[in-house]
């Protein structure tokens, strides 16, 4: 940002009318791009409490990676280790061929947007944004130019002379972003930066943040507990549970191919089907379908949208069952219907709204949509 020859190309990128399908290209890009930061076997214990266990993660140049997890999953601790505010109990951080975890925070080319923004109350918006450049002893003219560019980028030029206490939460958020980005870090860390905003502003900032990230081309590591936010913004999601990574994948992948039962339940709604494989056939209660899995117990995740009201006839290979409607929840365009089938099996299905009240229904789903997942063992 604010690079002498930069703005033209950036502007052209910004107004480019043909934005390709984001998730697909992004995953291809991140696979092709070189690794920026490599987190290797990082563990952190506070006293006897293990907060992170053997976390290994590669962050690619220019990618938008979200660390998703419930509160207490260790996501903020991981971010603070990368920023340098916490020291890992074991493990290493590498940026290129440089050992990052041995550097103090002020030598790392990593900047942070804090959850509380942490703007300096005694400095104006402008002075806040220029702080890093002044500390780095850049020439005054350059500081003025870069600060002006950064404020322009986040649309805060009008408030340049205001103190942080005089601007709104959303505006403070933009200032915090500008203050971090003006230093041209190689990696930007964002610790639940949208959690303090109300729902509307939050959705708007999600879009803005994502387009800003594409524009500046800096890798973002974004921490959140909100799975929807993670799905909307990320190139890849790293799902953290009790200090361990459950799955790292693109939003589409993590939704359609969840690795574990926990992932399947944490991201979106799902039906978990317990089954037993014997001689090429899965049996779970009254349901059964053919499979190529080896014999033994198996757990499947079946998304509600893959369960349909059974039509007459239909292609073969569909698993069919019949049940009584327990509950019908209206969600706008779709509704979620809980159906009690034989043997205490409850299936949740999603259909387009407008079907009216249902009582007894015939259901069907394709066996291919039942995704094999690992059991998530209890931790802690």
């Amino acid at each position: 940002m604010g690079h002498p020859t930069g703005p033209w190309t950036e502007k052209r990128l910004m107004v480019s009318p043909t934005t390709p399908a984001p998730a697909v290209t992004a995953s291809i890009q991140s696979a092709a791009k070189p690794t920026l930061l490599s987190i290797r076997n990082v563990a952190k214990t506070f006293g006897r409490n293990a907060v992170l266990r053997n976390v290994s993660l590669e962050i690619a140049e220019g990618e938008f990676l979200t660390i998703l997890g419930e509160s207490g999953s260790g996501k903020t601790t991981l971010l603070r280790i990368v920023a340098g505010f916490e020291t890992a109990t074991s493990g290493e951080l590498w940026m290129g061929d440089e050992r990052l975890d041995r550097q103090p925070p002020y030598r790392r080319r990593v900047n942070t947007v804090f959850q509380s923004y942490a703007l300096f109350p005694h400095l104006t918006v402008e002075q806040n944004v220029g702080y890093g450049l002044r500390v780095a002893k850049r020439p005054a003219a350059e500081i003025a130019q870069r600060v002006a560019d950064a404020l322009d980028k986040v649309k805060m030029t009008a408030h340049a002379k205001a103190k942080p206490s005089k601007i709104s939460g959303g505006q403070q958020q933009r200032v915090a972003l500008a203050r971090a980005l003006v230093n041209r870090p190689r990696l930007l860390l964002l610790d639940e930066p949208l959690s303090a905003l109300d729902a509307n502003l939050r959705r708007q900032m999600q879009v803005e943040l994502k387009s800003l990230q594409r524009e500046v081309g800096i890798a973002f590591v974004f921490v959140t507990h909100d799975q929807e936010e993670a799905m909307v913004m990320s190139d890849r999601i790293a799902l953290l549970r009790s200090g361990e990574l459950e799955q790292v994948a693109t939003p589409r992948e993590i939704y359609s191919r969840p690795a574990t039962a926990y992932v399947a339940q944490f991201i979106g709604h799902t039906n978990l089907l317990k089954g037993d494989v014997r001689g090429g056939v899965v049996r779970g209660g009254s349901l059964s379908w053919a499979t190529s899995l080896p014999d033994g117990p198996a757990l499947f995740s079946l998304r509600p949208e893959h369960v349909r009201l059974a039509g007459t006839g239909g292609p073969p290979g569909l698993v069919r069952t019949r049940g009584r409607v327990l509950h019908q929840a209206f969600h706008g365009a779709t509704e979620l219907i809980r159906v009690e089938c034989a043997d205490d099996l409850v299936l949740v299905m999603r259909t387009a709204s407008g079907g009216g009240a249902l009582h007894e229904v015939d259901l069907e789903f394709s066996a291919a949509d039942a995704v094999l997942v690992r059991e998530s063992p209890e931790r802690n």
């Binding site: 920023a83 103090p104 002020y106 703007l119 005694h122 780095a136």
Partner: protein, 281 residues
Amino acid sequence: MSEGATNLPRSRWLLVHAGAVFAFLYLPIAVLILYSFNGQGVGGFPPRNLTLDWYRILFADEPIWDAVLNSLQVAFAAMVIALALGVPAALALDRAQFPGKALFRRLVLLPLILPGIITGLSLLMLFNVTGTKLSLMTIVLGHGTALISVATTEVFAGLQKLDRRQEEASLDLGATYWQTFWRITVPNLKLSIIGAALLIFTLSMDEIAVSFFLIGRDNTLPLEIWGRLRRGITPEINAVSTIIFVFSLVTIVFWYRLRVRSEGGADVGMELLETSEGSAK
């Protein structure tokens, strides 16, 4: 806060009671100021023949002015010593983890609770043992060490209210620990430090007990006044007290204005003033 109270029927006795308390607090000061203008000396009621004579006499009184100058010097030096030792102690209490920290915290606060006689006497014994000649310097050391606790408590309170994320943000933006301390920590503590400085200055200015034990040939103002009172009271004392009172009042108003002006910043140690203002509204 006062919404509930306004709905209650106002008691007349409450007003009388409040009036009595205020009279008890401020009547002596009012009398003191009034009699500094009394032509009849300290006797007689009501005061008659208002005059500025006592101020004229006061301004010509060399020993009083020497004492004022001594007190100012002592207060300033004590303030510097107390801050230089008290601020790092507050930082250590807030940030560092070391064995015996709880004990250290209590020991730092002890001089605040100890009677001045004990502090004075023990320092006197120390100076006797080391063969140090008593002078203004020994008073400076006495005040300085006794008032460290004021600097520590005031600055510690400020540190507790400081958002540590701000310091992390500063480190994150490339400032070293030292730069962060001067650019972020100190500006945020500015009011605590100024508050502590003013408080130490004032406490040192009117300190008697410790000074009494450590005094050399030169008097501080309170000791000078006290010495004169033994020979009989004169309105000249009232005049000098009035000047001190006005000076203190100006200092407090100045501090308060400073606080109000730096809105949103660290609000420190002045809850008392704030509550009293709030309830007056």
